[in-house]
Amino acid sequence: MGPRWKGKDAKAKALADPMSSIVLQLQSSLVQSDAQGFLCGCNVLLEAGPKQTDLLLRACFGEPIKNLSGEPIINKNNKHWFYFGMEEAFFLCNSLKCLKILDGLDNCPKNDQELFQYMKSKKTTFPDSYKAYSHLRLKNWVVMYDSNYCADFVAYRHHPSLVHSEFVVILLSEGDSESNDRLRVWSDVRGTKRLCKVIKKALLVLSVDKNGHDATSPSCLEGYTVTEHTISRWSPEQCHEDHPKDDWEPSSSSVPLMPSGTTLRSKVALAPRQVSLDQIFKALVIFFWTIVVFGFGFALGKLL
């Protein structure tokens, strides 16, 4: 399932203004202004001037704080307040090194280590979720938190105003059974996949493996590996050996398609019903003769 651009010129616009370039401009702008965010619960707040507001919105980092009418709040300094999720803030701070973060209560600057420990205390799976977030961001995907669908993140090829999101992203932690609460049973896999089909997105599973490293400091993250799997339905008709290769996109999946010990059968439609040309022709013939018969009957009635 390729990208679904929102309008004729959207793709050209995106190519002319790549996300990597926007993020670089944002990085440069934040560094120049010595931007400082405030740690507040599970969010980081940042006061942003007009230029940075524009760059933050274009790069899809954070959300502007809005009033009850849905309008962004502008303070007396003519600046917007933005709030970031932990992964977003840590990416700007640790990966792009363009944001300093202060404690929201005492304004003391937090170094990466302190920030990492704090965020882990708020969310035990933070190291893995941050690894997954940064993995996609470094590949220039726009990564946003998913509140509408069924997953941890949603990934866009470019700005959401130009393109629909292509992937819902579910995070799995290898070897850490306690934090793995999704896709452990077949019903969850099937349900999630079915919902992805309805909302026209692919299911991307990111398996984060710590490779024996602990999670005591951000530098440990470099030892983690991320494996990408997409899960899609296997259609036998599309997978015949003599079927043209162009029409078949293989999907890798380490998730077993059927668990052992399945107790209840389900009627699985293996492929959508396809209407053949022959059936269409027959339907047209029947339609034609129906018109002829009705027409004849009508004419006869008029005559009599």
Partner: protein, 248 residues
């Protein structure tokens, strides 16, 4: 969300031929013929005459298999279905490797095939005893789906997820994180079903024998989206600035 009957007169048809009565007829017919099912893998295979095949189809137990045999019809039942006919309705004897199994002997066989069989069976049995037709819900991301009557007459109303008590959490529990709840609820909404969660608690009892099941409790919960506009306690009329009345 009430029942969605699949055609005119179907509700009357269902009322005229209640599921409880069909199941009783099935029970009586299987008893009379001393039916034996074969435990094979994760299924129970049953060979029946035409009359029993009709009753199995009407009561929605098992699935008919296509075979070369013309005199008899083979059916494939799930573990829950097979054990329900054997243990709850006492109208089916089950054989494994040519040995007839009593309920006590069958129980560990079922558990070895499905670690959470006691929970799933309790949920299945709980709904069947209330005369719901219970079938696999895998296509809807659930454990079961529940029909008010035969699927030919009515659409299923509930997608059922079996929720286990905390200490059994392990590998098979659903709805432990918000994304899963959201996904399940949204999918159910899209297929016009209500998400029904059955919380099964062992109440400290073991799962060593089927008699333990009587001490298990089942709590039913439905999960639906909360729509603020639909849940206002009162709709009061207020005057807007220009004097026109607006309902809030």
């Amino acid at each position: 969300m009430g029942p969605r009957w699949k055609g005119r007169g179907f509700k009357a048809k269902a009322l005229a031929d209640p599921m409880s009565k069909i199941v009783l007829q099935l029970q009586s017919s299987l008893n009379q013929s001393n039916c034996e099912g074969l435990l094979c893998g994760c299924s129970v295979l049953l060979s029946v005459e035409a009359e029993q095949a009709d009753l199995l189809n009407r009561s929605c137990f098992g699935e008919a298999m296509v075979t070369a045999e013309k005199d008899k019809q083979w059916f494939e039942l799930s573990l829950e279905e097979g054990f329900y006919l054997s243990y709850a309705l006492k109208c089916l004897r089950i054989v494994e490797d040519k040995c007839l199994k009593s309920d006590e002997q069958l129980w560990p066989c079922m558990k070895s095939r499905s670690a959470l069989f006691p929970y799933f069976y309790k949920a299945y049995c709980h709904l069947r005893m209330k005369n719901w037709v219970v079938m696999s819900g895998i296509t809807y991301g659930a454990d079961f789906v529940a029909y008010r009557h035969h699927p030919e007459l009515v659409h299923s109303e509930y997608a059922v997820i079996v929720s286990l008590e905390e200490e059994e959490g392990g590998a098979n529990n659903r709805l432990r994180v918000w994304s899963d709840v959201h996904c399940a609820t949204r999918l159910c909404g899209g297929v016009a079903k209500t998400l029904l969660v059955l919380d099964i608690s062992r109440n400290g009892h073991s799962a060593d024998s089927p008699s333990c099941l009587e001490s298990y409790t089942v709590k039913e919960r439905t999960i639906t989206r909360w729509n603020p506009e639909q849940c206002r306690e009162d709709h009061t009329m207020v005057e807007s600035e220009n004097g026109a009345k607006e309902e809030i």
